[in-house]
Symmetry: C2
């Protein structure tokens, strides 16, 4: 048993969907979340800058003596995971590898879709991971740049003509490719599950990167006999930006009332 917290960081607040999954599957765990909203998005930065930012994010979290860290940011996961793992003795889990592993294990047709931000799609990180795990799989990609702002404005519910129209347009090419599995390659997208399922048809399996990272974290903790418990764990939230907007956003992503306010951190100091 290990009562130390799990650390989670993301370039913004999307990683809170991973926190939601962690809390669902391991409710006794304490969680420390850091969202680097002041410097979001990481996707357009140089690899050097991304590594510098990720090291700062991790140094901040390590103050809390975490037993494991989840990188809920696709950009950091695909650019810097190995550097961070080499530099830190605690287990560090990214989102890309467990997500792709799940997609590879569920696809029957070997035709998989990937939706993500424009930067994530063009980085090729998910595509490389697919090629590494199963070069036979065909990956069809679609950038969905309006999904993030729509989710952040709370427009993710069925019946909203705005998000339904945008989703139908983005997903039509993937529908035509007759994929059987779709990777939600951005931590905002799980909130759009109903909309995306509706647009794709119910038989397509959606892989939620936050859920897969949470499952991967659970297996590591199980292997190390390091789960917390008993009792309910607490979550604490930090952001590099003014925290005023945090509560509104956190309740969208966590899908539960957010008890504690977020604290603002000067991340440049780390």
């Amino acid at each position: 048993m290990d009562q130390r917290p799990i650390g989670v960081f993301d370039s913004g607040l999307g990683g809170l969907t991973a926190v939601r999954q962690l809390r669902q599957i391991m409710p006794s765990e304490h969680i420390i979340y850091f969202g680097d909203n002041a410097r979001v998005p990481y996707g357009n930065r140089s690899r050097e800058t991304i590594l510098k930012y990720a090291r700062q994010d991790l140094r901040f979290l390590r103050q809390f003596d975490p037993k494991l860290v989840v990188i809920a940011c696709g950009t950091v996961s695909s650019n810097c995971l190995e550097d961070l793992q080499r530099e830190n003795e605690i287990p560090i889990i990214g989102v890309v590898e467990p997500t792709v592993r799940r997609a590879v294990s569920v696809t029957a047709s070997r035709r998989v879709g990937l939706i993500a931000t424009r930067a994530s799609v063009s980085s090729g990180a998910y595509q490389r991971q697919f090629a590494a795990l199963d070069p036979e799989i065909r990956v069809f990609t679609q950038a969905c740049p309006l999904f993030v702002p729509l989710v952040e404005e709370g427009r993710f519910r069925s019946g909203d003509v705005v998000v339904e129209t945008v989703a139908a347009e983005y997903l039509a090419p993937l529908r035509e490719e007759r994929i059987d599995t779709l990777v939600l390659g951005c931590t905002h997208y799980p909130l759009l599950t109903e909309i995306i399922s509706g647009a794709m048809g119910g038989s397509v399996f959606l892989v939620d990167s936050g859920r897969e990272a949470a499952c991967a974290a659970q297996s590591v903790l199980l292997q190390r006999d390091a789960l917390a418990g008993p009792g309910m764990g607490e979550a604490r939230f930090y952001t590099s930006e003014l925290a005023a907007d945090f509560q509104r956003m956190a309740e969208i992503f966590l899908q539960e009332p957010c008890r504690a306010a977020a604290e603002t951190v000067d991340i440049e100091r780390y």
Copy 2:
């Protein structure tokens, strides 16, 4: 006559709508544009950070020996204009004051609307300027957070159910207030003129902050006998972000094919 360029900067690419206006009303002028996309948006930052960024943006532009600088960023205009004017001997023009001056001069009902980003509305900068120029005017505000991403995705044309639905929702409260003048308090919004006019009804006068800043620049240059000419001026573009996406965005904002590519600048060095 003065052949030196006009400098223009913004936290992102929205300021290109001001460049478009400058080119329309003063086609002989050379223009140097800097968009600080790497650090956009400025609206959520502390005043100290905004001033630091604005000084760097201006130091970068001053390398080109500009005869005048237009700050196409509402956040910088309302937080730092006086500091920058005091620190620099060349004329510096912001967007807020000329925009509000125009609205004050055209409103008959003294009921004016203001639409902008969430940060600009809650900063109160436009509202304070109205109060300073005419305390009798009632200002009704509405944040329109989805307008920026919709414009950046090219969704600003009549007949697009997505942007028309969003605009109708945002503007319904202002319609009810029977305003006769509406300030477009964000440099992205002029692209939505048709959509916004459609939602508000044709009798509402729209004040375009980019056009007002361009007109203010023209009067200053006229007063100083510092207009360029004859011949066509050239525009050069710089951004602090990877320049790959620049051309696509620039053609949206300038509404003309963009001849020159943008160059990337490491703004932290200034």
